[in-house]
């Protein structure tokens, strides 16, 4: 279970608060969506959960399965099952996709006390997961994300997610830059990972993604706070009325 308690966050070296007291609980087995206007703090929340160092938590806590993760390095969090699918996946020239996937997979397996995968085991797994995401394994021989289209980058993120077998998935604007077909493939990939042992936090600006990844709950984040929570129908309301209501009462 993910529990976020009164979370206050600012950018290190700056004064302005971005998150101003977030309270949120995502139980195992549930998918929660966070929607909100640009600049509301959605991506900041995703980064802080993953452990990015540019942000400073000034108050509150983030608990994963009852333990605070705030003092953990990003790689420790990954080993504990936290996975962030980036809005803008990075290009890593010079590192082949397969090398990267294998290094990451075995790093988390090692920390989780599992055996590292041998090359044949790894290749079998990667081929299987890649096929379900419509990714050509030859593409993974190329440097990570270099020269990939927007859709390819997002599929590559979901492949990483599938390989690392996380228990908390945070998806940051996974729908941005995707056409309808790519959106369906990516959503199918995410849905395949839904399960009773996994919690998911899906961050999006648009309702569109939530037609494919149907959430158990929807939260509206604006000006650094959760302004409203509800069922999946809240997303549809927002699609009609927009975020104006939440932007008004911010002051």
């Amino acid at each position: 279970m993910l529990e976020i308690k009164n979370l206050h966050v600012k950018i290190a070296d700056e004064d302005a608060e971005i998150l101003k007291g977030i309270d949120l609980v995502v139980p195992q087995g549930e998918v929660h969506a966070i929607m909100g206007p640009n600049g509301s703090g959605k991506s900041t929340l995703a980064y802080v959960i993953a452990g990015r160092e540019d942000y400073e938590v000034t108050d509150g806590d983030i608990l994963w399965n009852g333990n605070s993760i705030l003092d953990m390095d990003p790689d420790e969090r990954a080993a504990k099952g936290v996975f962030l699918a980036f809005q803008y996946p990075m290009e890593i020239p010079g590192v082949a996709g397969l090398t990267f996937l294998r290094t990451a997979t075995n790093a988390v397996r090692k920390k989780r006390g599992q055996d590292e995968l041998t090359t044949p085991q790894f290749m079998k797994l990667v081929k299987e997961k890649a096929a379900s995401l419509n990714i050509d394994v030859d593409m993974l021989k190329r440097p990570v994300n270099v020269g990939f289209s927007g859709g390819e980058k997002k599929r590559s993120e979901i492949l990483q997610m599938a390989m690392l077998d996380p228990s908390l998935c945070v998806l940051d604007e996974t729908d941005s830059g995707l056409d309808i077909d790519a959106l369906r493939i990516v959503s199918d990939g995410v849905n395949a990972l839904r399960g009773p042992d996994r919690a998911m936090l899906v961050i999006t600006h648009y309702q569109r993604l939530l037609n494919h990844i149907v959430p158990d709950k929807v939260h509206v984040l604006a000006h650094g706070k959760i302004r409203k929570s509800g069922g999946k129908e809240l997303a549809l309301e927002l699609e009609k009325s927009g975020y104006a209501e939440f932007q008004k009462d911010a002051a």
Binding site: A50, R52, E53, D75, A78, G94, V95, F100, L164
Partner: protein, 447 residues
Amino acid sequence: MSVAVMKTKTETALVDGFGEIADTLPGGGSVKSARAAALARFAGNGLPHRRIEEWKYTDLKGLMKEALPVVVDGESKTTIADVIVAMGAIGRLEVPRFVLVNGHYRKELSNLDGLNGVSVAPFAQALSSDDAAAALELREEDRGSDAVLALNSAYATDGAVIDVASGSNVDAPLLVVHVRAGPTPRRSVGRNQIRVGEGAAITIVEMFVAVPGSAADGQMNTATEVQVGAGATVDHVKVTTDLGQVTHLANWLVDMHGNATYRAFQYTAGVGLARNQVRATFKGEGVKLDISGAFLARNSEHIDTTLFVDHAVPEGESRELFKGVLDDNARGIFQGKVVVRPDAQKTDGKQMAQALMLSETCEFDSKPELEIYADDVVCGHGSTSAAIDEDLLFYLRARGIPLDEARALLIQSFIGEAIEKVQHEGVREALMIEAEAWLAARSKTNK
């Protein structure tokens, strides 16, 4: 320049030491006088210093504290096993090799089987031929003021003379391995000549390595002249991993004829002081030139790459990509001079030099110099120096990769982009292994 400068102890030793060994250097009367003339050229100018623009960042006069004795005959204890170990990852390739120990060819350590269409002979042997003085004489444009080349002509003991017959397509790379061995600090002076006939193709790898346990100190002055025939394709790789406080001075003098492809790659790591000069001249139209390299330096190592690319004729293409990883107090230097002569229309030139700075105290000096006298050309250059990208580091760590491993992977990826330029798969992979080993040694010492 007519500024009178006092001779240093090193310069005096370089000049006076010549007389003591002149009689033992290979070559007859005409060679001896050519050597003496070269030494006189050196004596006139002395070692280059920082007031000479090309040597601004590498003040050899100040940096070269002594002149070690030249080895007049080869040291004989070195075994094939020593050579293989000294060669590192490339030693595992089973390919032809021409081995020199302390500047002298060693037939019993070499293996030239399976080379079709290629003749390889010791330079010392070439010096005993009828036109021997011509063999020693450098190109007109190189004879001038370069003190390091003058010293090379004066002292050169041996090297490889490689002739590739026109139309030969040589599969296996040919290694020319300069090995430093023995407990006594020595100076080696080598001269190689590569002549590739029309339409031929070959990969030649020059290596400068030391047998483990050799003296920490050593000096190398090496020059390689390359003639790339019309339509020929030459991949020329230089691997300098002579670990120690060595002073390594290298020159490549390259002529490229019509429609030739010449791809050069220079890997330098763990060398106390290195100066890699390349002078490449476009002699015919339609030539494609690619000079790339990777350099890795730590402690107080100093690695200088100085290029002089001369687009003397039209429709030439040149690409330069150099990448360096610098740590501790290391210093990296890149000087890339590209001249496009008035006739050299339709020249296409691109240059990039990049350094990854791992410490606060390392230094990278990058000096692109484009002199363009033609008006219908495309020429560009760029230079970057930066620390490891924090965004990339976070991306890797968010995927569970621990900090040290993530940093190593990113450094590898940075340097890998340059090493990718090496065409021969076995050599390329071996160089990647060398770079990884260098990085592994780094993370060990940082803990």
